[in-house]
């Protein structure tokens, strides 16, 4: 792995969102317009995953610096 691959650590964002975020959000027992915050959070994590993977993919495709 070369120095250009630092952005790949972004992949940890969804992992942390689910593995750390879910237990914390669950404790709040909150709702958003009646919908459980836990579900809203998880759906948010799924959307962010797609976004993060798109960013990683775009950065991976950059031509290598000279």
């Amino acid at each position: 792995m070369n120095a250009h691959r630092g952005h790949r650590w972004l992949a940890l964002v969804p992992v942390l969102g689910i593995c750390v975020g879910v237990p914390l959000v669950d404790r709040l027992h909150a709702t958003v317009a009646g919908i459980p915050l836990l579900l809203v959070w998880i759906v948010g994590c799924v959307l962010v995953t797609s976004l993060v993977m798109a960013i990683i993919d775009a950065l991976d495709r950059r031509p290598p610096r000279p």
Partner: protein, 482 residues
């Protein structure tokens, strides 16, 4: 004829024709039959891989979990998401190595990586042991869906036999092309049905999603949060992680990697798949809508919640469409399971025991095995009783035990030896079987430990033991060689 039955049979016929038609213009060598000549673009690969998410288990199970257990059901939406993150980094390497060595299966991959035919045989057998019960699960689901949505006009046994004949026909004729073509119809149907039901039912019965969840929370306080014990946050996180690791260890998912034309496919899929599986959210909504409308479904009957609520809410035409979507969610994964199990038995077991078997012979053998395996699965489905249930639960834990060997095989340094891999996998599987058969739980062995530890998915224990044995034996055999 009952309109629902008419719709069901029309879709079965459509699947069969598409599946058979998929072959046109191709001679079915092993290369075409199992991996579609490695010529599939992003959409086909996405649909094949989505076969793993939208099975009858998700159609009936995801709604059943939401209905019966509440918030713990959300884990189903999480593990796939993390598996896609992993796939971005792992699958391109699997694909490249497959092209270099003309591989057709997961057992091929590991046997090649370690230069060990014995490991290939072991991986093939582990895979088949996990796949047959999984196929039985699909057929059981199919039987329930078709008999419920045809208002009992077709019995479970009739539904299973008719569908299996169609399934075997197009698998034998077209192989993975048949799966890919039928997957197109299946995904259009399941998308339409799940989204329509998931939006319409909450609005029709409760006036919206917010009011629905409020009513559930009032009737069953705490149902929409993770429980403090049992399926707690620590169960949730450990199960999500284990399932994410096991996701691509299913031999049929692994093999679908080799159908791709280019490795870019997997990077694009890692972006698209998380969004695509949000359909599951709508399936949850159906299960939640059923909580107060069709109460009283206990235990395994919770899986009937979607069908019962649909039956109560719609006429026979609509019910037939819902049933057709359910039928297709069984056929597509079913076809991939049958094909993959036949391929690994022919190539990685028979081919290893009788070296020098030509690829043409193996292709012929694999196609002969399709009806044989299908027959075994039907017998288990109709006459297996409850004996099959523990096997079903084993499946996921079984394939997950392949992950440590797999991921370490991608490293450029040779950390793992073939004997280490075999020892590790055998240890993991032995523990999985023991835990399943004995029913031992961490909470019963260590009653005084905090629930944050004892609620951990017990599969973690097998995976850790597996990895420790794998590394230890590898270190020992490496030193012995020097």
């Amino acid at each position: 004829m009952n309109p629902a039955l008419l719709v069901l049979l029309a879709f079965l016929l459509l699947a069969l024709s598409l599946g058979v038609w998929a072959r046109r213009g191709h001679t079915m060598s092993l290369e075409q039959w199992t991996v579609g000549g490695r010529g599939f673009g992003t959409v086909f690969v996405l649909l094949l891989m989505a076969g793993e998410i939208y099975t009858t288990f998700t159609f009936l199970g995801a709604s059943g979990w939401a209905y019966g257990r509440g918030a713990p059901a959300f884990y189903i939406l999480c593990y796939g998401t993390l598996a896609y993150v992993l796939s971005y980094f792992l699958l391109p390497a699997v694909w490249r190595y497959g092209i270099e060595h003309r591989l057709h299966s997961q057992a091929d991959f590991l046997a090649h990586k370690f230069g060990s035919r014995a490991l290939g045989v072991l991986v093939a057998l582990v895979g088949v042991t996990a796949m047959i019960p999984y196929l039985v699960l699909q057929l059981k689901g199919l039987g329930i869906i078709v008999s419920e949505t045809s208002y009992g006009r077709l019995s479970v046994a009739q539904a299973v036999w008719i569908s299996v004949v169609a399934l075997v026909s197009y698998v034998v004729v077209s192989g993975v092309r048949g799966s890919a073509y039928t997957a197109v119809v299946k995904d259009i149907m399941i998308l339409a049905v799940a989204v329509a039901l998931g939006i319409w039912l909450p609005f029709h019965y409760y006036g919206g999603l917010g009011p629905m969840f409020t009513a559930i929370e009032q009737a069953k306080p705490g149902f929409l949060s993770l429980p403090a014990k049992g399926m707690s946050a620590s169960w949730f996180v450990s199960t999500v992680l284990l399932s994410a690791l096991g996701f691509y260890m299913w031999p049929h998912s692994f093999a679908s990697v080799y159908t791709a034309r280019s490795e870019d496919t997997f990077r694009r899929n890692a972006i698209a798949m998380p969004l695509y599986q949000l359909v599951l959210m709508f399936v949850f909504f159906v299960g939640f809508a059923a909580v107060l409308k069709v109460p009283g479904l206990e235990g395994a009957d919770a899986d009937l919640s979607l069908l019962r609520l649909s039956k109560m809410s719609f006429g026979p035409w609509t019910l037939g469409l819902i049933g057709a979507a359910g039928l297709l969610t069984a056929l597509v994964p079913g076809s991939m399971l049958l094909m993959t199990a036949s391929t690994v038995l022919a190539k990685n077991v028979w081919g290893a025991l009788a070296p020098g078997t030509s690829e043409m012979r193996m292709a012929a053998l694999a196609r002969w095995l399709v009806p044989v395996l299908a027959l075994i699965a039907v017998l288990f489905t109709l006459h297996g009783g409850t004996a099959i249930v523990p096997l079903l639960l084993l499946g996921y834990n079984f394939v997950t035990q392949l992950f440590p060997t797999f991921v370490l095989s991608l490293s450029t340094r040779r950390v793992v030896s073939a004997s280490g891999a075999i020892a590790g996998i055998l240890t993991g599987e032995a523990i999985v079987i023991f835990l399943q058969v004995s029913g031992v739980k961490l909470a019963t062995v260590f009653p005084t430990w905090p629930s944050i530890i004892t609620d951990l998915n017990i599969g973690v224990v097998a995976l850790i033991a597996n990895t420790v044995v794998l590394l230890t034996v590898s270190a020992m055999t490496r030193r012995a060689r020097v």
